[in-house]
């Protein structure tokens, strides 16, 4: 489950939960020495934690902002996460951060740029990271490969792993007119470190990745299909806006875990 400040009070009472691990948003903790970090370290005593960032800007031509990787490394040393991830995108320029997951063109130049930045990140952090496919609302005329070819090419070239967001693949498939199955089937299981599920909003003319609701039935179906190839992969339901009660979030996480277990049993049967 995603660790959100709305959960702090509950988690500090150390209740028994059915949550297996938490994902913490890197930037909420890397600059804080106050209560957020205190809570995260307490939660870490009871659960494995993954650190998920939004500001690495691994596809940015300027590379990560000065000092960013060092701060991330310092946080990782304290938290000892089982995974460090960020997004396969750029987030703006150093002089003007857009704070958004901006899409990259699927070109050789972009693969090389991401690979160079990811390699630096992995060198500083002393470990492999995972990069997540993002939802996008535009595509570049000069893209020379499909989104999934780009994702896999980056992971191979950078020797990093993939955080496969099934919802983002669905949103992009709908927005850009391809089959999400073609996308997800093309991602080699051994590259996937984690899976995200989430809810989008239908804006009428396009799908918008809002993380404001439960995954839709087609996304659950795609998840079933994907996890069958990679049972055992940690799964997270992302829910950031219009946060429902804890019980709803927990039930969603349990549902995903049960589908994952079925896939594991089917594999061993």
């Amino acid at each position: 489950m995603g660790l959100r400040s709305a959960h702090y009070a509950r988690l500090l009472e150390r209740p028994r939960t059915r949550v297996r691990w938490f994902e913490a948003l890197t930037e909420n903790y890397m600059d804080s020495r106050g209560r957020p970090l205190e809570v995260l370290l307490k939660v870490r005593e009871d659960y494995p934690v993954a650190l998920h960032g939004v500001s690495l800007s691994v596809g940015g031509v300027e590379g990560p902002r000065p000092g960013y990787l060092e701060r991330l490394k310092a946080l990782a040393e304290r938290v000892q996460p089982f995974l460090i991830s960020d997004h396969l995108c750029f987030t703006g320029a150093h002089a003007s951060n857009v704070h958004d997951l901006l899409p990259l063109p699927y070109t050789e130049e972009a693969v090389a740029t991401v690979a160079r930045n990811a390699a630096r990140a992995q060198e500083v952090l002393g470990r492999r990271i995972a990069l997540e496919n993002v939802s996008s609302y535009l595509s570049y005329r000069e893209s020379a490969m499909t989104e999934w070819e780009f994702l896999v090419a980056v992971a191979r070239r950078a020797d990093c792993r993939i955080l496969l967001d099934v919802n983002n693949a669905f949103v992009s498939a709908q927005n850009h007119g391809f089959k999400a199955e073609d996308y997800l089937d093309a991602v080699p299981a051994e590259l996937v470190a984690q899976i995200h599920l989430g809810g989008y909003s239908d804006m009428g003319t396009f799908l918008f990745d809002t993380h404001s609701r439960a995954p839709t039935p087609p996304v659950w179906e795609l998840f079933r299909r994907t996890i069958a190839r990679m049972p055992g992969t940690p799964v997270l339901i992302e829910w950031d806006e219009a946060l429902p009660p804890w019980e709803t979030l927990e039930a969603q996480a349990v549902k995903a875990a049960e589908i994952e277990e079925e896939a594991r049993e089917a594999r061993t049967a």
Partner: protein, 254 residues
């Protein structure tokens, strides 16, 4: 060196999202779904001020409450249009927002807004600061002499405003009572601090208390700080009790 193709596309999207739509960028992309290229760029263009405004709203919650939606959001729009974000962290955004609010044309009607915003920024900074527990009251009593230099712990931040804003900040979120001149007129001096843990505390200070603490923070000896502040004996005792009980002194040295 001439920028490469990727760099030109990235500059084009950043510019299109944060200031003016770049026609070359629009020509280089296709819209997703049934969006035209321009409409797709507009999706990113709408998201940008919304995110930065949300960040300002979180940090400057009391300003928002006092100004009301319309005025606060208009101020954010104006501020965001002229102030790029240079940090990786959204919650770093808005350091100059207090000065911006203070300088706005309608600041005459609410001249306290800059100070209220300064208070909120300082509060946010302290919220994220590491707690630094200082000496226990007993250890301090043992170590401190009139000629000691007291290094403050906590952390502790001193604020001095031309307007009273702490009362406005403390007001309940749902309290819609209009703000009147009597609420903010007159100077205010405050200490924001942590007592070795993470809760942030606020203490209102008299002018002599503020002067004494500022002198201590500047490295003056306890005796010097008190002598220059105008605090009487009882006042000095109360101030030291405050420092001792909060564990707000890291070290007493000579």
């Amino acid at each position: 060196m001439k920028p490469g193709r990727l760099e030109r596309l990235q500059r084009g999207l950043v510019r299109s999202a944060t200031c003016a739509v770049d026609p070359d960028f629009v020509a280089a992309v296709e819209g997703g779904g049934r969006l035209s290229a321009a409409e797709a760029v507009a999706v990113y263009r709408r998201g940008y001020p919304a995110r930065l405004t949300e960040a300002l709203g979180e940090t400057f919650e009391a300003c928002w409450r006092v100004m009301g939606d319309e005025d606060f959001l208009a101020a954010c729009r104006e501020f965001v249009a002229r102030t790029p974000s240079r940090s990786h962290n959204l919650s770093d955004y808005g350091e100059t927002f207090p000065d911006f609010l203070a300088a706005r044309a309608d600041a005459e009607a609410a001249p306290f807004l800059g100070d209220l915003a300064r208070f909120e920024w300082a509060f946010k900074e302290l919220f994220h600061a590491a707690p630094r527990p200082g000496l226990s009251a007993a250890a301090l009593a043992k170590a401190a002499r009139p000629d000691s230099v007291l290094r403050l712990a906590g952390p502790l931040v001193l604020l001095s405003f031309g307007h009273r804003v702490y009362g406005l900040w403390k007001r309940d979120r749902a309290d819609a009572t209009p703000v009147t001149r009597a609420d903010w007129e007159g100077p205010e001096r405050l200490a924001l601090y942590k007592e070795g843990g993470n809760p942030v505390f606020v203490r209102e200070l008299s002018a002599p208390e503020h002067a004494a603490l500022a002198a201590l923070a500047a490295g003056r000896t306890a005796a010097d700080a008190l002598a220059g502040s105008g605090l009487d004996e009882a006042g000095a005792a109360a101030l030291f009790a405050f420092l001792a009980e909060g564990g707000l002194v890291a070290e007493a040295s000579r």
